[in-house]
């Protein structure tokens, strides 16, 4: 290259000296094993050459400005991803080079920072979800959910999973995609606009082939209910209860699924520490009862001692994992969502139990305020009897267009059921509205007025 490239430290004279050491006449000599017809003579056509930091930053900033960010508008979207305030110290800490640019902690002597964080994270997650043990995180909630179904199959040696109609439709899609190939049998129906869930139906459907019942809590329509009866029914039939939590902040206010009998609790951890990021990276939470720990997928960090007797931490039970077990592994996963788990753990440490409860209670209070205000609009009804920070409104017309028109007015007013369930037009008037601590009274007011005008 004629100009310097800021990330490449070799100078041309370095290159010459190194070729001499190697005994090669040119760089091309090092690529001799590539078949001649596949060796490109020059740069790939129709792609630009290198650009300065300033130029790249400008280009990316121009793209960023084409998006309406959540902080710029009254914002009420949820349905599996939530806008919460993340303290500035979280992002500061995860950017420390020793965390940001560290490798997977396979060399524990020089990775105790990452490992201790994972051990603390596992404990926090287990306690939050009400389970005995948790792993070091997975890709996201949707893939964790599928891993839970596979794990239930492994434990029960049965192939049929009952998916609640309250399960996030993307999670259902992921499971259906995988089941097409693995042959798992999945029972699922789209939800109805009813304050009651389909728990009774699920209980009735449990049989001797059922590996697990998968239920979301709070569910995709914001409904919450006691899972004890479901757990009891599943256990009576030798099946497991898998609970899915997409809004972990809720567990600062409502009972933990593990405490109601769930055997495996999975979730999307994005709410705590991570931010929206257009859907990723997020982090899958995965916890279960102690007795199932060796059937768990994903990385696990455990306590041990070093040669000098000091407490230390290592990745453990890796005989479950792909790099040891290859095709016999419990999962093909070889990544956790390390930096997101770190952010989750830092945010949770800043909150502590006291802060988490205060956060949850503020979320709920704002949601109640918004629900009452919106339900008072002409033609609008509130579907939920109970909810945490998210509820479903039934509008007098299809909610998809309403949402789009609200966006044109600069209001990001929830997620329409038409977007989530395109094949279920009968519930197309439903609008899922999430209200977190970031929503102000003024935001609610703007939203209510805009919605009223759109419906007029």
């Amino acid at each position: 290259m004629e100009n310097d490239m800021r990330y490449l430290p070799l100078t041309d004279s370095d290159r010459q000296a190194m070729l001499a050491t190697i005994g090669a006449a040119s760089i091309d000599d090092l690529f001799v094993d590539v078949p001649a017809e596949a060796r490109l003579a020059g740069t790939i056509p129709n792609l630009p050459d290198h650009a300065s930091e300033m130029a790249v930053e400008r280009h990316m900033a121009a793209l960023a400005r084409k998006n309406l960010s959540a902080g710029e508008a009254p914002f009420f979207l949820g349905a599996g991803a939530y806008k919460h305030h993340v303290p500035a110290s979280v992002d500061h800490l995860i950017q420390r080079g020793e965390f940001l640019t560290a490798y997977t902690p396979y060399q524990p002597e020089i990775a105790q920072g990452t490992l201790q964080v994972l051990f603390e994270f596992q404990t926090q997650v287990a306690r939050l979800l009400g389970c005995d043990v948790a792993n070091a995180s997975m890709y996201d909630g949707s893939t964790a959910c599928w891993e839970a179904i596979v794990m239930a199959r492994r434990i029960t040696k049965r192939g049929k999973a009952l998916l609640s109609s309250g399960l996030h439709p993307h999670y259902v899609s992921v499971a259906q995609t995988m089941a097409k190939f693995t042959g798992d049998d999945l029972a699922y129906e789209t939800p109805e606009l009813d304050s009651k869930t389909d728990s009774q139906k699920l209980i009735a459907a449990i049989d001797k082939d059922t590996s697990c019942v998968v239920v979301q809590y709070p569910d995709i329509l914001g409904r919450i209910e006691d899972l004890t009866a479901l757990a009891d029914a599943a256990h009576a039939a030798g099946a497991l209860l898998v609970a899915v939590v997409t809004e972990p902040v809720a567990l600062g206010a409502i009972k933990a699924p593990g405490a109601m009998g769930a055997d495996i609790v999975v979730g999307e951890g994005q709410s705590i520490g991570v931010g929206l990021q257009f859907g990723g990276p997020y982090l899958g939470l995965f916890a279960c009862k102690q007795k199932y720990v060796r059937q768990m997928p994903g990385r696990l960090c455990g306590e041990t001692v070093d040669a000098a007797g000091k407490r230390g931490f290592v990745l453990t039970l890796s005989t479950r994992e792909q790099h040891i077990r290859r095709e016999k592994a419990t999962s093909n996963i070889c990544t956790n969502s390390g930096l997101c788990a770190l952010a989750f753990s830092i945010h949770m440490t800043l909150l502590g139990e006291k802060g988490l409860r205060a956060l949850a209670s503020l979320n709920h209070a704002m949601a109640v305020e918004a629900a009452d205000r919106l339900a008072a609009l002409p033609g609008v009804t509130l579907m939920n009897d109970s909810f945490f920070n998210e509820f479903t409104l039934v509008l007098p017309k299809d909610a998809r267009d309403v949402v789009r028109r609200l966006a044109d007015r600069g209001v990001l007013g929830g997620v329409s059921l038409g977007r989530l369930f395109p094949t279920a037009p009968q519930i197309g008037n439903g609008l899922v509205v999430a209200v977190t601590e970031t929503v102000t009274a003024e935001d609610i007011d703007i939203f209510a007025k805009a919605l009223e005008e759109e419906l007029a």
Binding site: E53, N67, L100, D140
Partner: protein
Amino acid sequence: LEEKLIFEIGSTDTTGVDFAVAPKGENRLGDLARADAIGLPGLSEQETVRHYTRLSRQNYAIDLGLFPLGSCTMKHNPRLNEKVARMPGFADIHPLQPQSTVQGALGVINELAVWLIKLTGMHGVAMTPKAGAHGELCGLLCIRAALEARGDARQVVLVPESAHGTNPATAAFCGYKVEDIPATPDGRVDLEALKARLGPDVAAVMITNPNTCGLFERDMKVISDAVHAAGAFVYCDGANFNAIVGRVRPGDLGVDAMHINLHKTFSTPHGGGGPGSGPVVLSEALAPFGPLPYTARVEDGSIHLIEEENVGEEMPQSFGRMSAFHGQMGMFTRALAYILSHGADGLRQVAEDAVLNANYVLRSLDDVLDAPFGGSGPCMHEALFSDKGLADGFTTLDIAKGLIDEGFHPMTMYFPLVVHGAMLVEPTETESKAALDQFILALRSLAERAKAGDEALKGAPYHAPRRRLDETLAARKPVLSWSEPDLAAAAE
């Protein structure tokens, strides 16, 4: 260097956040209010900052030194990319916002997709896979979908002995039977054995190229042709794409699917184990089967999103969704900034410098360390050594742990499995000659000590935050979460 656990220093009464007081109102939680103590300790902001700052200092990281980690490509993470990913227009948008409000985000996905397609010479790319192994899964699902579309229920996937563990695990995870392909003595796939095994039951062959011995599979095109002739597909593990980016396009070698670890070739930060991102480039035969959602630029220049709603008209053969939402957007912004910074010329230089650095290490050390395939021609971006010639009782592990005391991260060890006591060294292109020379000096001295039988080496590391850790104890009696000491004692 002892940092207590948050459970030992925090209390459930302490918090590092404060909130406005919640407006008083009716509770709508039904009867589900959580009454039990959760057991989550809090710390003040200052204590939190100290805890994590101190913990971080027990880690090794690229920001501290060289990472000679074969097959894992740990290169410099530019800080511009961190800045870009945090622009509110990218970091603070919801995946389900109306499309009109996220055109810039969809534009990033599309622009990155175009680069990946052109760099690999392929036809399409699935952007949603969350990591490399997830990308492998995506590739195999495309292959299965394509086979099923033609009513062909093949059940076997062939994998070379030297493959990454994820290859067989992935194949098994989506229901395939896995069979090994042997290697030749010079470290490459045994072409004849492969040809002999091909048949109507073989769905795909998974190959890593450059392979995990650090060599280019010279016969790649011949292999692809044979696989295609047998009605199967070629999956290429893209972990080593760094060696050839800008100089060789997998599409020209007959590859049908290849995942790209954005954190390897395109330098998104490894973060102590993730998050990753594993887009999969696809051949014309496989592209129609890719997962949802998918982006496409339409005539008016805007970017269009294909998901469940419109998939029937636009992409009817898609195998469906493999994760919620759009993939690892935060990694896309970083990778795109990296790619634009390098450009077509810079990326070509990446491959050249990566290969140059690896050969420099190989030839600077092959007099003291056995290089099993040192005679098979130049290596690509990683240099492979074995433990042959070390004194009795001395192992690759000893050299690896010795590197820690020299201020380096160990190389990849005992992989690939086809070489005894393998040491796989990948310096990457972002290391300066001075850094390489220091590393070579350190490894040379360790090799000499291990050959001379220096017993002190067996106790290494001595200068790390911890000595060697008891992994057996950890696995035999797993302690996976913290308990209050009295509870823990009672449980014994």
